[in-house]
Amino acid sequence: MTHKISRRAMLRNTAALTTGVVAATTAKLRAADAQGAARATATGTGTATAPAVLDHVHIGCTNVYATAFDLMKATKIGHYDGGFGTNIVTGQKTMPLGGGVYLEIESVVDPFATSDARLRPWWHARAVSMKSPVFSGVCLRVNTMDELKEIAKRHGGVARLNMHTPSDGPPVKCWEAPHGPNIRNPWETGQPTWCCWENRLYSHPSGQPVVNAPGLVVPMGVAWIEMGGTKAQMQAWLDQNPDDLKMKFNGKAPGVYAIGVKTDVGDVEIRRPSATRTT
């Protein structure tokens, strides 16, 4: 037996559903804000914003194809073509890790650009000298541009637009901080940066489909991230408890050394040299 539903009733139902989604989302955001406020108070920051979360980890290398493919073979975590970076001399492969986090793998793909130091990313020389892909940095995510600007200001910099153009779509844009003429790229000294996707989180790189290769596992988020330095140093830089980010510290020079990724068949460890330069 079928029921006829009038168009007006359908619209009413749709409106109700839509309102429900908005209400639920707003409630979640309010809860997250409240949690952030409580945590901020507990850590003595006095800032009533949600804590930053892990957004992506970066691997710099000399060959983006071989590195991504070898990593996929070793971990069974899938990847897709991330396209080219802002200055068009680098290419990227993206490996979603679950839980809104992704691994960005990048190399210089314009051989005629490597002779120009201004175009070479800082991690390129390190990957060449180490003869290995290197962990080059960690980026955390905040929800709003106000939060990102506040963080940039705290570190004496500003937010900068970063962009890459994937093969199947328009440029993917996010704002990153802190940057500025008077501050060194934090990644070079092993410090995390922050980013904000404004209203584009729906197309976040962690949520895009991977190439359908045989035998892939389902990544379910980052279980831990091994950093150099100490917890106290990191807390001072972040103004946030590093435990929120599942960071553990090995006491070596600041930088990223390894990540543990939860998957449907157990945890996978990805360990590479850190690209950090402390001089």
Binding site: N63, V64, Y65, F69, V109, P111, H124, S167, D168
Partner: protein, 213 residues
């Protein structure tokens, strides 16, 4: 290659997919299917550091460095390995025991045997021949990335080459007029292709020929 493919799509409205990397790892391809079992292979370097050593450079490296993006050649396809061997014998060429192998992003290894070698053929402006071991996996038949306003191609309408008809058909050992060549009187090489589209009309892709270097 990353940016080149993006620009070519903006220019032509034809789309491409990531063809993966060549087995030695230094080069990778973006493939533009052109319809009717043909494709455009956009070949690029993905290990810039490896190119510091001249022995790792592809044969077209100096030409591209000087001319910029350019056409490097035409490849013909044969149905059987026997046919390829016959062509190789005629050209005094020995087919390499190991085929060119391209690793797709999903891990599939696509193997292609070729004759004669690029330095004996396309580098001089004349086509080479290929035999694809697994034809259902031919690059022309794989789906390109979706993108706004892309056009579905329907085969190559014409091919603009240098040299003369006699030189070309002597090289191919085919009756004159068999293929839709247009001869522009310049040095042998590939200069442009016209691609038919499902919408009607054609899309022209024109670049310098690497043989002009």
């Amino acid at each position: 290659m990353f940016y080149g493919a993006h620009r070519l799509r903006l220019e032509t409205t034809l789309s491409f997919y990531d063809g993966g990397h060549v087995l030695n790892g230094d080069l990778a391809n973006r493939i533009f299917p052109l319809g009717a079992n043909t494709y455009l292979e956009l070949n690029g370097i993905v290990d810039a550091h490896a190119m510091r050593d001249a022995k790792n450079r592809p044969w077209w490296y100096d030409g591209v460095q000087t001319l910029g993006e350019c056409f490097t050649g035409l490849g013909f396809r044969v149905d059987t390995f026997d046919e390829l061997q016959a062509i190789a014998r005629k050209k005094g060429y020995t087919i390499a025991k190991d085929p060119t192998t391209r690793i797709w992003p999903n891990g599939y290894a696509m193997r292609v045997f070729s004759a004669p070698g690029p330095r004996e053929s396309v580098a001089n402006g004349f086509p080479m021949w290929h035999w694809f071991e697994d034809f259902p996996m031919h690059p022309s038949g794989q789906p390109p990335s979706t993108a706004p306003k892309i056009t579905r191609p329907d085969g190559v309408a014409w091919i603009e080459v240098g040299g003369t008809a006699k030189e070309m058909y002597d090289w191919l050992d085919m009756p004159a007029g068999t293929l839709p060549f247009r001869f522009n009187g310049r040095p042998p090489g590939l200069y442009a292709i016209g691609v038919k589209t499902m919408r009607g009309g054609e899309i022209v892709i024109r670049r310098p020929s690497v043989t002009e270097y």
